[in-house]
Symmetry: C2
Amino acid sequence: MAAISFQVEHQCETARAGTLTTPHGIVETPIFMPVGTQATVKGLTPEMVAGVGASIILGNTYHLALRPGAERVASFGGLHQFMHWGGSILTDSGGFQVYSLAHQRKITDHGATFRSHIDGRLLELTPESATQIQEQLGSDIAMCLDECPPAQAAGDVMERAVNRSILWAGRCKAAHTRPDQAQFGIVQGGLDIDLRRKCAEPLVDLDFPGYALGGFSVGEAPEQMHAALPASAALLPIGKPRYLMGVGRPLDLLVGVAAGIDMFDCVLPTRNGRNAHALTHFGVVKLRNARHAADPGPLDAACGCYTCTNFSRGYLHHLFAASEMLGPTLVSLHNIAYYLDLMRNARAAIIAGRYPDYVANCVARWAEKA
Amino acid sequence: MAAISFQVEHQCETARAGTLTTPHGIVETPIFMPVGTQATVKGLTPEMVAGVGASIILGNTYHLALRPGAERVASFGGLHQFMHWGGSILTDSGGFQVYSLAHQRKITDHGATFRSHIDGRLLELTPESATQIQEQLGSDIAMCLDECPPAQAAGDVMERAVNRSILWAGRCKAAHTRPDQAQFGIVQGGLDIDLRRKCAEPLVDLDFPGYALGGFSVGEAPEQMHAALPASAALLPIGKPRYLMGVGRPLDLLVGVAAGIDMFDCVLPTRNGRNAHALTHFGVVKLRNARHAADPGPLDAACGCYTCTNFSRGYLHHLFAASEMLGPTLVSLHNIAYYLDLMRNARAAIIAGRYPDYVANCVARWAEKA
């Protein structure tokens, strides 16, 4: 019995509406996964996150392995219980943070050695340890360790990363033992579709229950990513969930869905929310702007979230002007609600067979003055 | 028709259980009022504050007058609507913050001039303006402007502050126009009961609907305050609510209730909560302490709040170690829940005629290892 199941139920051109079932519930796709880096979606209670409709969140293996430690999390019964989250959890492999956060990193085919960005401890992450750590965390979906070069990396670096990601995927699969956890493979290759194909084919042969596209939103222009997504997604099996890692802005999600992606994660809604930068049905609203100070209207008139239902733009402006914690909380909550709404309505549009119209309408509304 | 009504329903020695009715609901006394300095109880949504049983909160006139401004708050329909708080609100007069926060302050019988601690603007607070600002804020209970010297002030300074507080109380009352707002007088006089009596008598003659004791917890030893409270409270009318301003620790509240105080406010539960310092049925718990890192137990086994019901000490420790916003939120919430529980149980003990036993039991439990 597999840890997860997935059915594509509707298609509109290449966009898909599906259902992903994990040991912790049902996830209707396409879906956005709020990021809970350190066993908390920053500034929000789990009830707030669930209350805006999140069914699956992301946890970061690198951060959790460093603090409080995977064994510690396991001793609390796993990440779900530790952080009081009843829905599904996907964990990344930790690789991306080793490349972006850790100091003195050295990567060989064996794995990565690095120093913790917190206390300078020398640590190692291998395909085997990344797999074991995620089993200790007890996520519903674990990711293979991969190597993710920046977009501007030279061709030979890209090719080496692809080869290493293939090598490591096999070792991750061999190391994986937990029957109540699914493990996804990650396709690298940057903007080079031939290289992506070289990466995808052996990974598809490994028959993972789901696949991710890594190495997007790592420094390339959004238009470059948009152009590469359809062909990249088409390399992945039709009947399995497809996850575009670390992406992105609302438009990026809509383009990704059109390309046939089912799952997304990004820190943008929470990171921007903490900085008074709201994403709405009518485009970006920067709440520190003085024009909002006297505005009794809601942040997003088309949003039914707790923030938009109960508070004015003027009040939110005040909270940020006064450096009050509630400002980051309320705008993070709205931003996540908006991302989830964007995906829920995308799903409805796919089912109704009018996804291109939906995208066009969203883009037109973003251009209105928010 | 008065803005508020108050009945003392039970007494146990001098401790009182009563009911205060304001335009925004019923407040069972004794009560603790969480502090919402800048139109938010720091780190908590209004629903969280109400969810642990808070029926009345405090707003700070000085902070709100500076930012966003009382007229701005009025333009949003008043403080209740601005901050989405459906319960009762008491506002202070702003005087205490002028004395403790503002720069270049000069106090005469006319009022106080000072520079804003935010932007250096030169401002004035008089009995008339303090009254007008609070009417603009639309609190249920407004406080008279008083002069509050530190505990170590010389006798002539104390006496001048008492005379000025009496003078200003008359002018506040004369300036007050809002029929849906009650105005409380404030008795100063430090630890000198004769001076407190000199202050209380003319204020009682002014027939305010409630009275506060100011000038406690301003630098004196807690024992000095405890010793002075019974005689100070006894100077206030029996049939009107009595409010001990800015106090205090859990023990201070219990001693205050024994002295016949009905209402309290203090930043301690939220300020300490933000700093991982929890107040529990079993004494203080400092959650940054490494001994909590692996503890799966609740913060306070005798507490039924959201935090204690759903999260472990180990998780709370992790949140503070990782500087996550949710830590301050969850511990502030618990601390407020604990203060409200302390007062709710005090009320029940008064009604049952066993208040001294209740105090003894609380003190004994605090001495257990939490």
